[in-house]
């Protein structure tokens, strides 16, 4: 069932706002990690606190979120995350 296929991606950031090293932060400067879960229907991303010394992401501390629906917004220009009030994290995301 194509709906069961899932792809995970992630990207690190040094801060909540763009700065000179936002594209390629060194490990010691990473403070936020964006974890994406993709299905054939949507892409859901949470940007959460990240501790580079412990290599630990804190899913209870969500800095921002993104939610795009493939059918209605294939180019991912209309972030619905706040419209859904961020919603509860999908069960599969809670550590």
């Amino acid at each position: 069932n194509p709906r069961e296929s899932i792809a995970y991606s992630q990207y690190p950031r040094p801060a909540d706002y763009p700065q000179w090293n936002s594209d390629k932060p060194n490990l010691k400067d990473i403070r936020v990690m964006g974890y994406s879960i993709r299905t054939i229907d949507y892409r859901y991303t949470v940007w959460v606190s990240f501790n580079p010394h412990e290599f630990l992401a804190n899913f209870s501390d969500v800095h921002a979120g993104e939610l795009y629906f493939v059918d209605s917004d294939p180019l991912q220009d209309h972030n619905m995350y706040n419209d859904t009030r961020g919603g509860d994290l999908p069960k599969s995301w809670t550590p």
Binding site: I6, Q10, P12, S22
Partner: protein, 422 residues
Amino acid sequence: KDALNVLLIIVDDLRTSLGCYGDKLIRSPNIDQLASHSLLFQNAFAQQAVCAPSRVSFLTGRRPDTTRLYDFNSYWRVQAGNFSTIPQYFKENGYVTMSVGKVFHPGISSNHSDDSPYSWSVLPYHPSSEKYENTKTCRGPDGELHANLICPVDVADVPEGTLPDKQSTKKAIQLLEKMKTSTSPFFLAVGYHKPHIPFRYPKEFQKLYPLENITLAPDPQVPPGLPPVAYNPWMDIRQREDVEALNLSVPYGSIPVDFQKKIRQSYFASVSYMDTQVGHLLNALDDLQLTNSTIVAFTSDHGWALGEHGEWAKYSNFDVTTRVPLMFYVPGRTAPLPEAGEKLFRYIDPFDSISELMEPGRQVKDLVELVSLFPTLTGLAGLHVPPHCPRPSFHVDLCREGQSLLKYFQLHDLEEDLTLRG
């Protein structure tokens, strides 16, 4: 003796801007021809949209949270665990493993050695002309040489009179010729540099993409609802002389429209140039009668934003930067074994306007991940597929975090498919 060889082609920063992915503008006849004999995954995604972390992830079969490489500054065998790699596993199973061009990201993340001797039977090859890639070899409108982002060149004019990917193709063909008479199966990984920046390619390829035919990205503005943390401020291209001269404000200043079109034109021209290199390599596979005994896997380490969401380069979680081309040609599985003398991969000149449209091969829509490359390649080659990793798996040298994609290659489907097509 009967083991299938493996040719793994990894293209740097290649998004799915290819004919076989439905992009009508792009001239990529040789990759499209490969796709017509392959199983093509329409929705394959990298686990992190930046070179070293993505490459170490798919070459070890572990996710970035396990390799603990999110930047360029650590070697997984030191930082995280002594994880086996795909080439290492083939080497341990009797294959001669060889690396040409950019397979591992050079530097600390591959121990300044492309992970030799673990991964490779012979010293990895790097094209000598690579050292000029970021130097002042781009002739600007002022007639001077610059280190530009947009860098169409007269190959005769550049140092050594050649380009890295041309040298890589030549070396890879030499290795194929040598392996033709070997009794051992081979695993050859060829890493092409283009379309990674700078867009330094033979200038004639620009003719394939007249500026009047080039449009902007369909959504060139930063979306109002995009959280600032998600935005990639494309700092790397800003450091190139021609972009720097635009005096753009950081982080949200947008590139002038005509220059956006020039960037897109040069990315596409780089793709077609790279396609010719892939074409020469696959044509040699045919000439050496290795097509019926060699699996060909084609992919990239991540995509590239060409102005979508007001962004350029990779460094984000958008689909345009994480979605990658992924296809496998498996002799007798994704295409019938070629008859004696039959050529599957005859070189096609992208300037040949009559090159007929390719019949697409089989395609899969399901979402898949680059981290599945390890179990899938080993399975297709008939090797024992490494077990799923426990959590955590830092202490386990050989296991994989990705699903095997073998189920998509089921023969009966193919036979059915072929009779239908027959």
